[in-house]
């Protein structure tokens, strides 16, 4: 006979009860509890709360991700130096250990808050939610969330950001989008960094972009060097437009 609540029609079911909206089937001396819940449900709930807060304050939250050493901190320090006059910027920076990145950004004059994740290889929405409490009120500004350097794990965790930006330095190899597809699939923009080193490495910019667009047809790509300033103008324009999209939401 079919159960009216869960549709179960297992003949071997000897006993059957529904407790607190939970479905339970007793098969002899063990029960099966149907759960049907996303493993990331809790993170996604925190991410929603962060996102609501950012929207309310018209903060443009940008999740910056890459492997270690691709130039996230250097680019942020440079961006602040160049554009502090017309853009309000704050950084939450995640690393497993040390506050060296926050210090580097602070010495450039940026308001930076460090999160040490300890053994954890990515930021999650809960950590970001707590660190927002330490960020001074910055209505309508840009909040950079510099993720832990790692091209795999951070892709899975929504932090409540409006945009995801992945950095790929030319010293890393142009096939990275194919090797680490999740990161590129989840990003709005890919920044090819350190392009001043192109003469010294085997890196095909067009190939890297083609591979990234294979994984994610809607990903945008920009090439730049924070050392020589090539391409920075386009990056600042992208930031300006990203910020406009958020501040003009009613």
């Amino acid at each position: 006979m079919m159960c009216g609540i869960c549709g179960c029609s297992d003949d071997s079911t000897t006993h059957h009860e529904h407790r607190m909206a939970k479905t339970m089937h007793q098969h002899e001396n063990h029960n099966v509890i149907q759960i049907e819940q996303d493993l990331l449900a809790k993170n996604n709930q925190y991410a929603r709360e962060n996102r609501d807060y950012f929207l309310k304050e018209k903060i443009t939250a940008i999740n910056l991700m890459s492997s270690p050493g691709s130039g996230k901190t250097t680019l942020l320090a440079r961006t602040f130096t160049d554009r502090q006059q017309d853009m309000d910027m704050t950084v939450i920076v995640g690393d497993q250990q040390t506050d060296q990145d926050a210090q580097k950004l602070q010495s450039a004059g940026l308001h930076a808050v460090q999160i040490n994740t300890g053994k954890v290889c990515h930021l999650d929405a809960h950590m970001v939610g707590h660190s927002i409490e330490h960020v001074s009120h910055q209505h309508q500004g840009i909040l950079f969330i510099e993720n832990v350097g790692n091209l795999v794990c951070p892709a899975l965790f929504d932090l409540g950001e409006a945009f995801r930006v992945v950095l790929l330095s030319v010293t890393e190899g142009d096939n990275k989008p194919l090797k680490y597809p999740d990161m590129f699939r989840a990003s709005d923009l890919m920044l090819l960094t350190k392009i001043d080193l192109l003469p010294y490495v085997e890196f095909n910019t067009n190939k890297a972009i083609e591979y990234a667009q294979r994984i994610n047809p809607s990903i945008h790509a920009l090439s730049l060097s924070a050392t020589t300033s090539v391409g920075l103008k386009e990056w600042y324009l992208w930031l300006k437009n990203a910020s406009k999209k958020i501040t003009h939401v009613h």
């Binding site: 049907e36 493993l39 990331l40 794990c153 965790f157 294979r214 047809p217």
Partner: protein
């Protein structure tokens, strides 16, 4: 090793369902894992073993149901199998695909005694 974080979330969900009930142990946990999700099965099993030590779920069987990747091609509008994100449409060879299945990461059920 984000699998370890995922296993901690899994244990949290298990605990939510254990509270208020008098179970002796958890015998089996069934997960649905999409073929395209960024999760490694052996890392997941390893993480599960670690986080469940000393809990009701210690020694439980971790049953992983793999969900095949599937996409609809934006060029030829056919549903096709998709094993990797970098694969082309099996029908027309284009790369513009919208994933319709295979990114799942869900706990389906658990068996308790």
């Amino acid at each position: 090793m984000h699998e370890l974080s995922l296993c901690r979330s899994l244990l949290d969900i298990i605990n939510e369902h254990v509270v208020g009930n008098y179970f002796k142990c958890i015998k089996k946990v069934t997960l649905e894992v999409g073929q395209l999700s960024a999760v490694d099965e052996s890392a997941l099993r390893f993480g599960f073993e670690i986080v469940t030590k000393g809990t009701l779920a210690e020694g439980a069987i971790l049953d992983i149901i793999t969900i095949e990747g599937q996409a609809i091609c934006n060029a030829c509008h056919q549903y096709v199998k998709l094993e990797h994100y970098y694969d082309a449409c099996l029908n027309c060879g284009q790369f513009s695909l919208t994933v319709t299945q295979g990114e799942e990461l869900r706990i389906q059920s658990m068996e308790v005694a």
